[in-house]
Amino acid sequence: MAIGYYPGCALRGSSNDYEQSVRVCLKALGAELKELDDWICCGATAAHSLNEKLSVALPARNLAIAERDGFDELFAPCPMCSMELMKAAKEIAADSRLREEMAGIVELPVTGRTKILNLIQLLERFDLKPSKPLDGIIAACYYGCLLTRPASIVGFDDPEAPSSMETILAKLGAKTVNWNFRTECCGAGKTMCDEETVLDLAHKILSDAQRSGANCLVVACPMCHVNLDMKQAAAGKRFGVDHNLPVYYLSDLVGMALGFSPAELGVDRHFVVRLAHG
């Protein structure tokens, strides 16, 4: 199956290990990712914090390109991108004046009819048959904020007790744990400008996951991965703890269950490279 693909800035930047993992795993499943032509940044936190119109226009430009090029659906592996795209699509679809205004700003007609999928939703479409079941993986699934919130925009899973990742991992033969901070924020885009907050939150999340008996964390968001993996050492140092907890992308585990090596999936490029299993 072919699907429109919106990587977003993080996957082309320091989270290119996520893109590597996504591409390898989806190719093996038979999905052809058709990258959106000349896509631009979705605006992330900066746009909605500083300029409301821009926060709709930047995603709108991408939606317009998708419509122009005939994509009914767009896969966005980063939940910040997927949420902003969905938000803009929803607002544009509901307001004809906004539609007109946006068409003028982004220089292309746009209706907001494109359906946006996150990584979990895309993976749910496949019949996952693991050739190497993930014995030994005891995962704490971490959803963060934007996969399930705001519920009125993303309408995905249960915002207080999500289970979509656990369902996928169960199919791959992995065990998952019940733990407390599945949807607590990791600090999002504050990594650079408010590192202390990020380290505090990361430490709490990593500690609770470990306390619950997990031997790894699983995420589906590049910002979460940065805060929990790249910053894990700093978080541990701040509290005098060595977490040493591997943080996998969901696509990493799918890929490994399908038989790929960690290196093929870019797992060797994580900061915590210890393998949780086997």
Partner: protein, 147 residues
């Protein structure tokens, strides 16, 4: 947070908008949307704080302790306007420079430098990331939004 989100809302309701606009709280906010998600009155608290951020930034009323956050977001948008997509190295450079100008602090300047070799070794540092072909349209979009 110097004041709690519900207090920010209360100040706005009471006509004490200025105190809300000058608070550090609105910049400490992570935009995690838990507040809006739980509110029994369907108040979009996250949306209100967003609106306050935009006004505080536009009016130059932001809390001094949170200058770095504003500088970061501004630098981010500047970067997107130029390139269409994020150029991380340029962003970090611009951010650190502007932050230093606002509040000199050498430890801050070099704080993340220790990660640079590791990032390079892991092929996560891109000196010239793939770019957008039509950058002019991006500039026009920004201009039309008054950004």
């Amino acid at each position: 947070m110097d004041i709690a989100p519900n207090q920010v809302i209360r100040l706005v309701q009471n006509g004490q908008k200025d105190r809300a606009l000058r608070s550090a709280a609105i910049w400490k906010c992570l935009s995690c949307f838990t507040c809006s998600s739980r509110c029994p009155q369907n108040v979009d608290c996250a949306g209100v704080l967003d609106a306050l951020r935009r006004t505080a930034a536009a009016e130059g009323m932001h809390a001094e302790t949170e200058t770095r956050t504003l500088i970061f977001n501004t630098a981010f948008l500047h970067n997107i306007r130029r390139h269409g997509r994020l150029n991380e190295i340029e962003l970090i450079g611009l951010f650190k420079t502007r932050a230093m100008l606002a509040d000199p602090d050498l430890s801050f300047l070099f704080k993340d430098a220790s990660l640079a070799p590791a990032l390079r070794q892991k092929r996560k540092l891109h000196l010239a990331p793939d770019g957008v072909r039509d950058r002019d349209v991006v500039r026009r979009i920004f201009a039309r939004c008054g950004a």
